[in-house]
């Protein structure tokens, strides 16, 4: 037995002392004259006292009062015992709802088993306890706020379902701790039902909260697609990489089935030893576009990681309008890309629209004030709707830095470029500086209102940039970034739980998304690309809008989730939490029985006093 408030035990010393002193003090008694005290002599020999302070006598009443006082002081010290079930004032149950909790090594599944255990905790709640239920996957959801109603809690837990997303337990614990902070003096109790497939949280400050970890899961017998990616080169050749890993303790043989647009494309027989990683590559995909799906024909613990999809952009022409009074370098660079279909104009044509051109290049010719949606490359000029404002001119500026991570400037070396003159820019809030000169940015990019811009502040003819190796790469990058990806574009599949960026036509104001489970969700388009975050299901998501339809895929592709071997010990807040196994032990406060016992003792004392026992 431990005490939540052990210092209160000190109260017993002064209070017990006071009770004893009251007994030591001479009692004011009623005076009765009797004929003789001779017969009382033997009877009162041990009871008489003449001094102000009498010797402490054996007294049942004193003993009972001391016992009652001791019980009350014990109750004030709030004793508790470790007992099965929960008896805290505030309980937070965190159910790991990540993909690995779908593993079927527990019956009916890990998540189902965890739900049953959580329901047991609900049933063992004390009358004054309140519980909050939350799930932790990529997103943390509070499915039931603090309540003492067991029926409501049971109903909320019963409705829960696992996701195909990785686990973000840190976020869940931070939210749980912030919800329980300062609600009462008693330390809260956090119970985590999980297979432990989350990173170390030892740096997370948990304060006085008591943490219980219930391990869910017994073994790992899983083979997974741990990676799925596609790549294409300038010649249009596309490759698909498929990463496989055997997380089980035995050798597993299975078929890897490749589908292109739901039509079987290839079957490969695989056999992986325990822990073996294998990379498969599909190279003969020339001219293939659409969805490429990889499936493992295997019966293992986790189904969510047995398939994945990736999209290959259909090779198509990019219509480019070059508005220039003549620039052989840019013209050659655009023609170099086999995807481009170049149109040249000396002046801004009247009524350019997005339907006509995917990318418009303004070379030293100012674009009109209002531009329709589309991609625009501004060379040596600026636009009112562009990503940056011109602040001033600089002569012979040197390039100081460039963003190597942005798709537009990736693989391009700007360091050796010499410029005769350039304007320096001030990016707008939605613009990004890609190349920095001595006095400010010289190349900026940004997307706003369906328009994408790359703005160069210098004239190509007044620099040696066209002569550098990086120039055609830069132009190709610009075309890739500025041209809409088109139907089936977006070669990388999104990860479950991570937001998907959906390009929609600028005219589209509302889209509907049907997730792999068949649930339809309507979204109002306020910006492009549309950010869609409810991607907790692995599979294909269909996006529909007015005169517009496309799809994207979300894959689990998480080695951490696919490794279904549960962890016995997790590290949270500097503590090593060992699993409580099947039973959750918590602090069960014992003060109510003590108070009732003290009342019983006091009642008996009252009875004894009046019966003169």
């Amino acid at each position: 037995m431990n005490f939540l408030s052990p210092l209160s035990l000190i109260l017993f010393i002064p209070l017990g002392g006071a009770v004893v002193v009251l007994y030591l003090l001479k009692l004011r008694r009623k005076e009765r004259v009797v004929s003789s005290t001779m017969l009382w002599q033997d009877a009162v020999a041990d009871l008489q006292a003449d001094a102000p302070f009498q010797k402490l006598k054996k007294s049942l009443l004193l003993l009972l009062q001391i016992v009652a006082l001791a019980l009350l002081v014990f109750a004030v010290a709030r004793p508790y015992v470790r007992a099965k079930g929960i008896s805290e004032n505030r309980i937070v149950v965190i159910l790991d709802s990540s993909a690995s909790m779908q593993a079927c090594d527990m019956k009916p599944s890990r998540f189902g088993w965890a739900k049953n255990k959580a329901l047991e905790v609900v049933n063992k709640m004390g009358p004054r306890d309140s519980m909050l239920v939350m799930t932790a996957s990529t997103k943390t959801r509070v499915v039931q706020s603090f309540t003492s109603d067991k029926k409501t809690l049971s109903s909320a837990i019963s409705r829960l379902a696992p996701t195909d997303a990785p686990c973000n337990m840190r976020q869940a614990l931070v939210l749980a701790l912030s919800l329980v902070a300062g609600r009462s003096t008693a330390p809260p109790s956090l119970v985590i039902f999980s297979d432990g497939k989350f990173g170390s949280l030892s740096d997370l400050p948990v304060g006085g909260a008591r943490l219980d970890f219930v391990k869910v899961g017994s073994d790992s017998d899983n083979v997974a697609i741990t990676g799925l990616d596609s790549r294409k080169n300038l010649s249009g050749t596309q490759q698909v990489f498929i990463g496989l890993k055997n997380f089980s303790r035995r050798e597993r043989g299975f078929n890897l089935e490749i589908y292109v647009n739901d039509k079987l494309y290839d079957i490969r027989e695989e056999s992986l030893t325990p822990g073996q990683i294998k990379q498969e590559m599909l190279e003969d995909l020339q001219g293939v576009g659409g969805r490429v799906t990889a499936k493992l024909d295997i019966d293992d613990q986790l189904a969510a990681d047995n398939s994945g999809s990736v999209y290959l952009a259909k090779p198509r022409k990019i219509d480019v309008l070059l508005v220039s009074k003549g620039n052989v370098f840019i013209e050659n660079a655009l023609n170099l890309d086999p995807r481009t279909r170049l149109t040249r104009a000396d002046a801004v044509p009247a009524g350019i629209s997005k339907q006509d051109y995917d990318v418009v290049v303004f070379d030293r010719i100012a674009p009109p004030a209002k531009l329709p949606a589309g991609g625009y490359l501004l060379i040596g000029t600026s636009a009112a709707q562009g990503p940056a404002e011109v602040l001033g001119k600089a002569s012979r500026p040197a390039v100081v830095d460039s963003d190597l991570h942005h798709p537009v400037t990736a693989y391009v070396d700007f360091s050796g470029i010499r410029l005769a003159e350039a304007e320096y820019l001030k990016p707008k809030p939605w613009g990004t500086a890609l190349v920095e000169g001595e006095r400010g940015p010289m190349v900026c990019a940004g997307s706003m209102g369906g328009r994408s811009f790359v703005q160069m502040s210098f004239d190509l003819l007044k620099s040696d940039f066209p002569l550098h190796v990086g120039f055609p790469i830069f132009i190709a990058n610009c075309l890739d970034w500025l041209a809409p990806s088109g139907e089936g574009g977006g070669s990388e599949g999104a990860r479950t739980g991570q937001p998907a960026y959906i390009d929609v036509p600028a005219s589209c104001r509302k889209i509907a998304i049907i997730d792999p489970g068949g649930e339809k969700q309507s979204i109002n388009v306020t910006q492009t690309p549309v950010v869609y975050s409810d991607t907790e299901r692995a599979g294909v998501y269909h996006v529909m809008g007015k005169d517009f339809s496309r799809e994207f895929a979300c894959n689990l592709a998480s080695p951490a989730e696919s490794d279904t071997a549960p962890r016995e010990v997790v590290s949270v807040g500097g503590r090593q939490l060992a699993s409580r196994g099947k039973a959750v032990e918590t602090n069960r406060e014992m003060y109510w029985p003590l108070i009732l016992l003290a009342l019983a003792v006091l009642s008996f004392e009252w009875y004894a006093y009046h019966r003169r026992l």
Binding site: K26, L27, R29, K30, E31, R32, V33, V34, S35, S36, T37, M38, L39, W40, Q41, D42, A43, V44, L47, Q48, A49, D50, R611, R612, L613
Partner: protein, 295 residues
């Protein structure tokens, strides 16, 4: 009869007890002729014994019939009847003031009744009030007419002080030469009562112990935290009276009764214990006759 004596005994009750007499286990020598058999041989009509004639004997008591048969002179002896000395000792310590009626009043009524019975039977009745280490003595009276004086004396007896039974009885025995029945009326709440009774026995008195108790002493109606004050000594004792303590008191009281009864049995004393809630007339007319103290 005075008003004070009327408080003790009513005329009707006096008439009822006139025919009673005190019973003495032993035969005592008296002073005057009376109605009690004496240890002396005398002139009554009741034959007692024969003895040889010696020169100088009264010829009138020679049994001539025996002389005719045996030709020897034998003297006829007759039982002498004399008066009996009855002493009534009343404990008048403050402890006797307790009870409703008070033990002292109860004792005075008993004393008055026994005195009247004795006086009616031509016994010599003396009374003594045992107060403090000394006594207040009423010299033995004889004859029914002395009853008024006895009653008056009893009426004037007041409770006072602490009784030392041994000292009082020693004083009484020194001042009283003639042996007889000594009726001691007391609550015997004294540590020296045995010594007192032994003193009486050693002086050839026949003690009759009338142990008078208040019914509240037998079953004390006390409870709670009390300060008990001894009425005689003023001694104060703090007690918390519980059921346990009351049981201890009852045990102590029972032991006290056993002790005094054993003492009486061993020394041949008559012992009668009464409580003041017993009707007085029933005590005299019934209980004392049953116990053969009166006939």
């Amino acid at each position: 009869m005075t008003q004070q004596s009327e408080e003790l005994l009513t005329p009707d009750f006096l008439r009822k007890i006139e025919h009673l007499s005190l019973v003495a286990k032993r035969v005592f020598a008296g002073q005057m002729r009376g109605e009690r058999r004496s240890t002396k041989r005398g002139a009554s009509v009741e034959f007692a014994d024969y003895r040889n004639y010696t020169a100088g004997d009264d010829f009138r008591r020679v049994d001539w019939n025996v002389y005719a048969r045996l030709e020897k002179l034998f003297m006829k002896l007759f039982v002498e009847e004399e008066d009996l000395h009855v002493y009534i000792l009343i404990d008048v310590s403050r402890s006797m003031e307790f009870g409703e009626p008070s033990k002292l009043l109860y004792a005075k009524q008993i004393a008055a009744a026994l005195s009247y019975i004795g006086l009616c039977n031509l016994d010599r009745v003396g009374l003594a009030a045992l107060a403090g280490p000394s006594i207040s003595l009423l010299s033995p009276k004889r004859g029914k007419q002395a009853a008024f004086g006895v009653f008056d004396w009893l009426s004037n007896v007041q409770a006072a002080g602490e009784t030392d039974l041994a000292a009082c009885v020693r004083d009484f025995s020194l001042r009283t030469a003639q042996p007889g029945i000594v009726i001691v009326l007391s609550d015997f709440l004294s540590t020296t009562y045995q010594q007192a009774l032994i003193t009486l026995l050693s002086r050839k008195f026949e003690p009759v112990i009338l142990h008078i108790l208040d019914h509240n002493e037998v079953e004390p109606p006390l409870v709670g935290d009390l300060l008990l004050v001894d009425s005689e000594t003023g001694e104060r004792r703090e007690v918390t009276i519980t059921q346990t303590l009351l049981r201890k008191y009852q045990q102590r009281l029972a032991n006290f009764f056993v002790e005094i009864e054993s003492f009486s049995t061993r020394y041949g004393c008559s012992y009668v214990r009464v409580t003041n809630d017993a009707p007085f007339e029933d005590l005299i007319l019934g209980y004392l006759r049953q116990r053969a103290l009166l006939k």
